[in-house]
C-alpha cells in the first residue's frame, strides 16, 4: 500500500491561499477516483476538489473555515501501489470551476427552512447534505384530493407568509387545526415555532391577536431569546476583506448628479415594443454601459486600475464592466468584458449571462476578475442617493438610483419628467474632483439625448 | 284646384257596448237549407258565393233542411250532444276549481262546443289537428282520453303527462291527433300545412286540420299558411272560428268588417265555406266536405265558423267591461246544445228527461274524475313534478352544461 497526498490546487492568477469551505469525506471513508472530496474558496469562486485515484481517507488537511496555502496538504489517502508521497509535484490545475457542485454550506443550508436547534450541519459523510438542497418538490400524498378552488383563493390572494416547501401541509395537532377552522384562520399562513415548524396553540393565539405579518415579525408581546452564531467564512469573509481594503486604502469622493431619462425611457420602451419578442427586453443598464463606453474615451483616467503598492495606474482602452450582483451567498462582481464592442442587446445578454454565472457559481474564471470600472444598482430599491464602495483596485464606480416621475419646469411650463440620480465614487488619489464631475456630466449629456449614444 | 275635406281615420267599433244592446244585423245569414252544396272537387274559385253566404241545416223549429243535411245515425247525434254537454259541464267545473285556486288558470269554450265536437267526428284516426286553447272539445269528444289525466295537466300535479311545464289547457296528445298547443297565436297554422305537405310527400292518406280564432287571422303566419296551402295543394282544413271577440277586441278590428274571413281563402285560391258554427249538423256536413276534398287530393279548404264566445276569454278576463251582458242570449245563431236537443226531440230520438239524466250522469263522472286527479296533488299543495325534470327534453340527449347546472340547482 502507498500514501497519496492531494494538495490545495492553484486556481490561477497568483492566488496565494484558499479557504476550506466543506468536507464531503471523513477519515476511514473509501473513495473512488473523481469523487468529490471537499470545497475550497478563493475570492473568485468555489472549487470542488476531486480525488485523483481510488483509496481510503487517512487524514484531512484542515478544518472547515481554515485558510490553507496553495500547495498545502489537503487529503492523505492510502492507495494501492506506492502513492505520490515522494515527489512533491504540483497538482495539475483544477478544471474550469469544477462541475459546479453547490458549496455544501452555501446555498443548501440557506434556502432550507430547517430552523430549530441544529446549527451545525448534519454530520459529514452522511452524503445527504449535498442532496438536501436538491430535494425534489415533494408531492405529499394527502389522503384527501387537492384543496378546492375556494381555498386557493385565500392562498393565492395572500402569498403564504411562512417559507414552507410548496405542497407541505402545516404541522399542527388536531386540536390546533380544529380551533383554526373555528377561527377561520388558514394555518398555511401561521408561523410554527414548535419543533419541525409545528404550529402550537401560542402561535395561533399570536397570529389571531397580533396578526403575525411575516415569519420574522414576532408579535410585540412575545419575548424572543434565540441567538445564532454565524462564522464569517467563505464568500462572506472575502467580501468583508475586499470592502475593508477598499475603504481603508481608497480616499472615496462621491458625486451625485440628477439625470432626466424621460427620452431614454421612451426610446427603451419603443425598442422593446418592436424588438422585444425577437431580441429580448432591454433594461436601462445597456444604455448606461454605452454611455460609459463613450464618456470613458474622453476620460481614460476613470477607466483604470491603481496598484498603489507598485505606484502604477494602468489605463485601459477596453472597458471591462464590473456588474455588482447580489447572490445567495452575498455580493459578487462578475465582469462583462469588452463592453465597448457590444451593442445594446449583446450587452444585455452578456450582463444576464455573467450575473447568472455568479449566482449559480458557474462563472468562468475570466468572468470573475479583471473589471476596469463597475456599475452597481439596487434596481427598484435604488434609493435617492448612495455612496458606493469602489471595487478595488479600480478607481471609479457608478451607482444607479431609482427612477421617479416629478414635476419639472421646462420652458416655463410644469411638466412631468422621469428623473434618475447617478451616485458615483472616485479614488481621489488618481481622479480629481473636476475630472470626475466632467465625466459624469458627459455621461449625463449622453443619457439625456439618447441619440448621441449611437454616434461614434 | 279642388278643396279636399280633412282626412279621418276609421277605427271600427262593435255595434253594442255595456248598457246598450248589440245590433246583430251586421251578421249576414242565410235561411237554413238555402245554400248550395257543390261537389268536393269543385274549383276553388267557384266557392266565392259560399264564402259570403252561411251554410245552415237546422231551422228554427229544429228540422234539418237543405242539400247539406248529413247522413248521420241518431245514435251518433246523441253521442255528439252528449260530448257537447260534457265539454260545457267540464268547463264549468274547472272554472270553479280555478276560483278555489286548485288551478292557476282556465279557458272555456262556452257557446262554441259544436264546432270542435262535430268536426272531430268528421275526421279519421291518424288525422292531425293543430288546435288553439279553445278546442278542448276535440279531446272531450273522445272516449280514449282520460278526464283524470286532463285534470292532472290542469293542476300541474305529479301525474301531469307534460310534467307541469305548460299552462293549464295547453294539452299535447299525438295519439289523439292533437298537436301540442302553443301560447303564441297562429304559429300552428303553417305547421299544419307543413304536416299536410309531409303526408302528401309520403303518399299517406292522413290530412291535417288547423284552427285559429278570428283575432289571430291578422298574424302574418295565417296568410303565409294560406299561400303555402294553395301553392302545394296541401291536404289541410283551415278552420277560422269567428266567435266575434278576441279578448276585448271585436272581430272588425281583425278585419272582418264589410267582408268575411272566408273570402280571404278565395282570394288566395282556396275553396272556402262560411258555416253556422252553432248548427251541429252543418258543422259536421261542412267538415266532412272539406275532409273528403283534402283526402281526394283536391287540396285545402278554408272554413269560417260563425259563433259567439259566450264566456270570458279566460279566468283573467271580465267581458262585462267591454260588451253587453245579454249578447249571447240575443245572438242570432242561438245555443248549439239547445238547437241539437230540439232537433233530436223533434225527430223523436231524445226527451227532456233523458237530457236531464245525461246532464246529472256527466256531472257525477266529472266530479269523480276531479277528486281522483286531486289525489295526485295540485299546484296549491306543491305536489308537482320534481324540479329535476326541467332539465330533461331540452335536447334529445342532455348536454354536459345542463348536467352541471342541475348539480348546482341541487335537486
Amino acid at each position: 500500500m502507498g500514501i497519496y497526498v492531494i494538495r490545495v490546487p492553484d486556481i490561477g492568477e497568483g492566488i496565494a491561499e484558499v479557504e476550506l469551505v466543506a468536507w464531503h469525506v471523513k477519515p476511514g471513508d473509501a473513495v473512488v477516483e473523481d469523487q468529490h472530496l471537499a470545497d475550497v474558496m478563493t475570492d473568485k469562486a468555489t472549487v470542488e476538489v476531486p480525488a485523483h485515484t481510488h483509496g481510503k481517507v487517512l487524514a484531512l488537511g484542515g478544518a472547515v473555515g481554515q485558510v490553507l496555502a496553495v500547495g498545502a496538504e489537503l487529503v492523505r489517502l492510502e492507495v494501492e501501489g506506492e502513492g505520490n508521497l515522494k515527489e512533491s509535484s504540483l497538482l495539475p490545475p483544477l478544471g474550469e470551476g469544477g462541475d459546479g457542485g453547490l458549496p455544501a454550506m452555501g446555498a443548501a443550508a440557506g434556502r432550507h427552512a430547517a430552523a430549530g436547534p441544529h446549527p451545525n450541519p448534519p454530520p459529514a459523510g452522511e452524503g445527504a447534505s449535498a442532496t438536501a438542497g436538491r430535494e425534489k418538490k415533494s408531492a405529499p400524498a394527502p389522503v384527501q384530493p387537492a384543496p378546492a378552488a375556494t381555498e386557493r383563493i385565500a392562498s393565492r390572494a395572500q402569498p403564504a407568509a411562512v417559507a414552507r416547501k410548496e405542497g407541505d401541509r402545516p404541522l399542527a395537532s388536531p386540536a390546533v387545526r380544529r380551533r383554526a377552522l373555528d377561527m377561520g384562520i388558514d394555518l398555511r399562513r401561521v408561523h410554527g415555532s414548535g419543533p419541525a415548524g409545528r404550529i402550537e396553540h401560542a402561535d395561533l393565539d399570536a397570529y389571531a391577536a397580533g396578526g403575525q405579518t411575516g415569519a420574522a415579525g414576532a408579535s410585540p408581546y412575545v419575548e424572543r431569546h434565540g441567538e445564532e452564531q454565524i462564522p464569517v467564512i467563505g464568500l462572506r469573509r472575502k467580501i468583508a476583506q475586499k470592502m475593508q481594503e477598499a475603504k481603508r486604502r481608497i480616499p472615496h469622493f462621491s458625486y451625485v448628479e440628477e439625470v432626466d431619462v424621460t427620452e431614454l425611457e421612451a426610446l427603451r420602451q419603443r425598442l422593446n415594443a418592436i424588438h422585444g419578442a425577437a431580441r429580448g427586453k432591454l433594461t436601462l443598464l445597456p444604455f448606461l454601459a454605452r454611455a460609459l463606453v463613450l464618456a470613458l474615451r474622453e476620460f481614460p483616467q476613470v477607466n483604470a486600475r491603481y496598484d498603489d503598492e507598485a505606484g502604477v495606474v494602468t489605463r485601459f482602452e477596453a472597458v471591462h464592466l464590473g456588474i455588482a450582483t447580489q447572490t445567495d451567498g452575498g455580493l459578487m462582481v462578475p465582469v462583462l468584458r469588452h463592453a465597448e464592442a457590444l451593442d445594446l442587446w449583446a450587452c444585455a445578454a452578456g450582463v444576464a449571462r455573467v450575473a447568472e454565472g455568479a449566482r449559480t457559481g458557474k462563472a468562468a474564471r475570466d468572468e470573475l476578475s479583471g473589471s476596469t470600472i463597475t456599475i452597481t444598482s439596487l434596481g427598484t430599491l435604488g434609493g435617492i442617493v448612495t455612496t458606493p464602495v469602489i471595487n478595488h483596485p479600480e478607481v471609479a464606480i457608478v451607482g444607479v438610483n431609482r427612477i421617479i416621475e416629478r414635476p419639472m419646469l421646462r420652458g416655463g411650463q410644469v411638466v412631468a419628467r422621469q428623473l434618475m440620480n447617478l451616485s458615483s465614487s472616485f479614488d481621489h488619489r488618481v481622479v480629481d474632483g473636476m475630472d470626475a464631475a466632467r465625466f459624469i456630466q458627459a455621461v449625463r449629456a449622453l443619457l439625456e439625448t439618447p441619440a448621441l449614444l449611437f454616434v461614434e | 284646384m279642388t278643396v279636399h275635406p280633412a282626412l279621418t281615420l276609421h277605427v271600427p267599433e262593435p255595434t253594442g257596448r255595456p248598457g246598450h244592446k248589440t245590433d246583430f244585423s251586421y251578421l249576414s245569414t242565410s235561411p237554413a237549407g238555402s245554400v248550395r252544396r257543390p261537389p268536393t272537387d269543385t274549383p276553388a274559385a267557384d266557392t266565392a258565393d259560399l264564402a259570403t253566404s252561411l251554410v245552415r241545416v237546422l231551422d228554427d223549429e229544429g228540422k234539418a233542411v237543405g242539400p247539406w243535411v248529413p247522413a248521420m245515425h241518431p245514435e251518433r247525434l246523441r253521442r255528439g250532444l252528449r260530448a257537447m254537454m260534457k265539454t260545457r259541464i267540464f268547463d264549468a267545473r274547472m272554472l270553479n276549481a280555478q276560483r278555489q285556486k286548485k288551478l292557476s288558470f282556465y279557458m272555456q269554450c262556452l257557446g262554441e262546443e259544436a264546432i270542435a265536437v262535430a268536426h272531430a267526428m268528421a275526421l279519421q284516426d291518424g288525422d292531425m289537428c293543430f288546435p288553439t286553447y279553445r278546442q278542448q272539445g276535440l279531446l272531450l269528444s273522445r272516449d280514449d282520453i282520460s278526464l283524470v289525466e286532463l285534470i292532472c295537466q290542469l293542476m300541474s300535479n305529479e301525474r301531469d303527462p307534460i310534467k307541469g311545464r305548460q299552462l293549464p289547457v295547453m294539452y299535447s296528445y299525438k295519439r289523439a291527433g292533437f298537436f301540442s298547443i302553443s301560447g303564441n297565436l297562429a304559429t300552428q297554422v303553417p305547421q299544419a300545412v307543413g304536416w299536410a305537405m309531409a303526408s302528401a310527400i309520403k303518399g299517406d292518406t292522413k290530412i291535417a286540420s288547423a284552427w285559429i280564432g278570428d283575432g289571430s287571422t291578422a298574424e302574418s303566419d295565417f296568410h303565409t299558411a294560406l299561400t303555402f296551402a294553395h301553392v302545394y295543394h296541401a291536404p289541410v282544413i283551415i278552420n277560422v272560428v269567428n266567435n266575434q271577440w278576441a279578448i276585448s277586441t271585436f272581430q272588425s278590428i281583425a278585419g272582418g268588417e264589410g267582408t268575411t274571413f272566408a273570402q280571404r281563402g278565395v282570394g288566395v285560391g282556396l275553396a272556402s265555406l262560411r258555416v253556422d258554427g252553432n248548427d251541429f249538423l252543418a258543422v259536421y256536413a261542412a267538415s266532412q266536405w272539406a275532409a273528403e276534398r283534402a283526402r281526394t287530393n283536391h287540396g285545402p279548404t278554408l272554413i269560417e265558423w260563425e259563433t259567439y264566445r259566450a264566456g270570458p276569454h279566460s279566468t283573467s278576463d271580465d267581458p262585462s267591461k267591454y260588451r253587453p251582458a245579454d249578447d249571447w242570449q240575443r245572438f242570432p245563431l242561438g245555443d248549439p246544445i239547445a238547437r241539437l236537443k230540439k232537433h233530436l226531440i223533434a225527430i223523436g230520438e231524445w226527451t227532456e228527461a233523458r237530457h236531464e239524466h245525461t246532464h246529472k250522469e256527466l256531472e257525477i263522472e266529472i266530479i269523480a274524475a276531479q277528486k281522483e286527479a286531486e289525489r295526485h296533488g295540485t299546484l296549491l299543495d306543491g305536489r308537482v313534478p320534481s324540479a329535476a325534470t326541467i332539465f330533461d327534453d331540452v335536447y334529445h340527449e342532455m348536454p354536459e352544461h345542463l348536467r352541471r347546472q342541475r348539480q348546482q340547482m341541487g335537486v
Binding site: - | 311545464r165 301540442s180 303553417p190 309531409a198 303566419d221 303565409t224 301553392v231 334529445h396
Partner: protein, 346 residues
Amino acid sequence: MADKKPESKTVPMTMIQALRSGLDVMMGRDDNVIVYGEDVGYFGGVFRVTEGLQAKYGKTRCFDAPISESGIVGTAIGMAAYGLKPVVEIQFADYFYPATDQIVSEAARLRHRSAGDFTASMTIRMPCGGGIYGGQTHSQSPEAFFTHVCGLRTVMPSNPYDAKGLLIASIECDDPVIFLEPKRLYNGPFDGHHDKPVVPWSKHDMGKVPEGYFKVPLDKAAVFRPGKAVTVLTYGTMVWVAEAAARESGIDAEIIDLRSIWPLDLDTIVDSVKKTGCCVVVHEATRTSGFGAELVALVQEHCFYHLEAPIERVTGWDTPYPHAQEWAYFPGPSRVAEALKRAVEG
C-alpha cells in the same frame, strides 16, 4: 378533424360542393330528408348548394318555397312533427328575423313543452358572415341570437371537410339545428387579406372530402392549430384570420375551432387555456352581447387561476355591417395579432 376513418374515396371539393354532397348522401340514405327554400329547387340555390338535387330526387324531395321565412320554418316544423327530416334554407342569415317566433317559441321548445310527445328534428341552413361586399343585410353573423335559445343547436363549419361532416350529423340529430355557413369560405379559405387573390379549396388539404357518408361529431371542438403561447377561441372565417395573425406575429397561438358553437365543447377550451394561460376570443359578429361574451365568461369561470392576462376580444364593431368600409369593420389579421401580443405580454 376526421374522427371516424371514412372508407370512401377522397376528392377535392369546395365548401359548396361538400355541402351539396352532404345533402345528396343524406337524401339518398333517408327518403324522409326533404330540402326546400327560396330558389333551392329547379335553380339549385343562389349559392348553387342544392344544384342537381331536384333533378336527382324529384320535385317532392327538393322544391322551391314562397318568400316567407316564417312559412318555410313553420311548415318544416309541421313536417318534422309528421316524421320527416326537413333541411330548409334561409337564403341569407340576415333574413331569419321573420322566422324568429317559429324558431324560438316553436322549434326550440316543442320537445320540452310536450314532454317528448312531439319533436322538431330539422336543420335550418343559413349562409352568414361578411367579406363579400354584401352590405348590412347580406353580411351579418347572428349566432348569438340562437345560442341564447335553449333547445337549439348552433353549428358553423370553417372548411369543406367539416361542412359535410357536420351537415350530415346535424340532419341525423334529433334536435333542431341552426347550420350557419360562412359564405366567404364557400370557395376557399380567407385569411382577411382581401387584397390577395382567392386561394381555392383545391389547393388546401381541408378541401379534400370523402365522397361517401361520414360524420363529424356535433359536440367536439377541433384544435385547428396547436400552440403554447396563447389560446384563440373562434369559429368560421375567423379561424383562418387567426391563423394568419399567428403566422405573421410569430406568436405560437393554439387556435380552437369551436365548430359546434352551442352546446359547447368546454373541456377542449379549458384544457387549452390552462396550458397557455392566456386567451383571445375572435368573432365577426358585433361586439356587445356577442357570443364572445359567453366564451369570456366561461373561461374566467373555469380557468381564473390559470389566467395571466385579461381575456382579449376581437370582434366586429357595434355598428351595422358597412358596405364600402367593409375592411375597416371586418376583424383582420393585424387586429387579431395585436390582441395576441397584448394577451401574451400581459
